[in-house]
Amino acid sequence: VSLAHTLSCRPVRVGALDWLALHALALWPHGAYLIQRAADGSDDPLGLLALAAVAALVVWHRHGLRVTPRLGWLVASMAVAIAANGAWWAGVPALLASLFAALSLVCALLAWWPATQVRLPLAGLVLLALPWIASLQFYLGFPLRVITAQLSAWGLQAAGFDATRSGASMLVNGQLVIVDAPCSGVQMAWLAYFTACAAAAATGLSDRLFARRAAMVGAIVLLGNVLRNSVLVALESRPAGLSAAWHEAIGLAVLAAVCVAVLALVQRKEAPHV
């Protein structure tokens, strides 16, 4: 005799999409935070793009979602959601609380996710939805800029330029060029990882391979940013300088090249084991 029968009520069947929607609704303070950060200009609205990609993936695989959720992941998702909301009301920094919320959403998705589909890229996209860019610029921006400036200086020296680095600035042929916050490559890194996650999710790259290649995406981004910076600095050090249009064009060309390299990396078939 089921408990439901004893209590004279019928069990309610909830579909995967409904459950996920309800779960997302339970995390509304964090969603409002994401929208607020995107709207007030304190961070780039890229997170919304990642959320849209997650939603598109869920809709794409809606027919393959499990009928009964994995209980472990479901319980974990609820526990982490309670922790996320508790952290929010307890005044924990909003980004940290939202990280719990994102993890909770990942758990909820994995509870319903088809066994045949990849998981890590999905988790990656959910994490990319958080407003990381400004915080990464603040904490990682300077080391990244110094590394970029130093590698650029070495590259330009090898190409015959009189280039030295001082802090995050460069002196090239007597011309001072600053490698400031917008030059750090954080935006390029976000876009490259987004490309990697989206492409891996679309092509069904195994989680193991994705984890291995995600580290190489970082190297591609660093190389791409150093290349972009070196070309721009070399052209800026000419007496005539460089127009804003050329700045944009060169930056976009390098970004496109980085994304194509990431796509090629993600779509590459694994070499057969001997």
């Binding site: 793009l49 300077f142 400031d180 944009e248």
Partner: protein
Amino acid sequence: MPTLQAPRREPLSIGRVLACIALSIIAAIALVAWGPAQADDAEARAAESPYFHVKSDDATLDALPLKGTQVDVKISGVIADVVVTQHYRNEGQRPIEAKYIFPGSTRAAVHAMNVRLGDRMITAQIREKQRARLEYDAAKREGKTTALLEQERPNVFSMNVANILPGDDVRVELKYTELIAPDAGQYRFVFPTVVGPRYRSPNAAPANGHLSATAHLPEGVKSNTTFDLSVQLHAPLPVSEVVSHTHKLEAQGVGTERVTLALADEGQRDNRDFILEYKLGGERTATGLMLYRAPNEPNAENFFLALVEPPKQVAPVQINPRDYIFVVDISGSMHGHPLNTAKVLLRNLISGLRPSDSFNVVLFSGSSRVLSEQSVPATQANIARAIKTIEQMGGGGSTEIVPALRRVAALPKPADVSRSVIVVTDGYVAVENEVFQLVRRNLDHFNVFAFGIGSSVNRHLIEGLARAGQGEAFIVTKPERAAEQADRLRRIIDSPVLTQLKARFTGVEVYDVEPASLPDVMAGRPVLVWGKWRGNPQGAKLILQGHAASGSHTEVVDAPTPDADAVALKHLWARQRIAQLGDEEALMGGQTQREPITALGLKYGLLTQYTSFIAVDHVVRTQQAAVPVDQPLPLPEGVSKLAVGNTNASQTFGAVVPSTPEPRLVFALLVMALLGMAAWGRRQRIAAAAR
């Protein structure tokens, strides 16, 4: 018996990841910490940036302790004796330590300081700089009233007065001597009243030395301190054409040998240099040889000063074509009035070029840009284009003069053409030594003429640039005065009056003569020779020989009777020697001349970069710690708040420092969308082919 052995486990992949992260962090830290070796800068304190004074709400603290400055000037012949009295009073309820950054003449030999505290007078002692600082700190801790005068630049001083108790009235008196050398028959006495906000470059070398931060009152706010100045002029010839273009004057006795002057301005007086100009007996100047005989004491030294007028300039027969590079400061401190003055000056300078000349224009602030890759002929079209470019300039951003001059040095130059670099700036930077070094190291490429623009120019930079570049310094305070200075530059460049100049004495033994080799004499400037003498100067002569446009030129000056009162010559000689050593130090970098400069400062009792004046009261007056208070300065007249505030690159019109920002997000997303579509299309094609 087989032993049990735990199976060796491969490290967890998470461990590898953590190891990689740790290695990356260590590498990043090592990279940040690593830097090129820099010579002897362990003790160097960098220059500090200027800032705006914020009014305190604390009613118990007197945040503006300097109540007034009184300047008394006595000019006898070519020597000015100046007494500056700074009046501090604490109208708060807590003891304070006042710090006041103030300017001085670049040629001043500061030789005495007294502190009047109520009815007591404390005479300051000259000490080695570090020792003076230690004594000052110790007296401050003990609760004694103490004053410390330090030199931060040859024309910037810092006065620290500690333990000014509530109700105290402290008057600090400092005395200096300077030479007033005539220029084309005109005498000019300059008393700077305010230090302009100096731009501190983040890339400045430590060799430039420490420069304290200056607190500035906001634009348009007058200082609360009074400023008064009086001049007594005693000349051997009647004084005429007494004029000041900077302040209104009340003059008595003009046309006689004794003139008395006082300020007549009602408004603000201390936000611009005081510049007094006069002539003696028409076109004549009081030149010749002056001798000082020391009292009969062991090791007493006698000094001389020769001030000889050059011959009149002769119009040159043939003028060789020249290449001119105009280097124009368009930084934030030049915004508004100074840049407008610079534009008038440049219109005058550029439009006066001959068609056979060539020229180029370098505009700099945080970055620099040139009119063209190489110099262009001074055709009407090119001149019009240059003037149009200059007219479009606003003023904004920082003042990176060193990279701009490096760029000038790298500009291509035809081997057979002489190049003159004309620098136009207010000089509000803290990298003077680096600039002098750069100019000297490129002397075979060009000589430098420096135009100081504005009401309170950094004369140390302007005069030093001209000295290092074997050129001449010009000051233009107003647009109306631009044309005459442009004309003067043309006259000077066209033909130096005397070259290969040599000075020798007969009938008396001279030694420690300054300068060691005489520079070429420009139009109107007298020849100046300092030194010591011994023996009997009766019948002695100074013989100056050089090449003038008309051929060989010789000037003979008879020695007068030595004067026991001309003690100022001693200070002026020592000041000149110290300046010479300072120039050498700036060229070498580091503190290579520290010992000789310190020795000269201590021996002759002069304020130098390595010696300071310290006065300590013997009475312990308080147990309460003094609150440090920085006396704010007004902004120099015509200088806008852009000279102090950080300006946003997008808000400025000048050439800002370029950077390499990533492309705009909207374009980046567009590229991503295109790539996504292309990838999707490719997948579809491959899938269709497979079917």
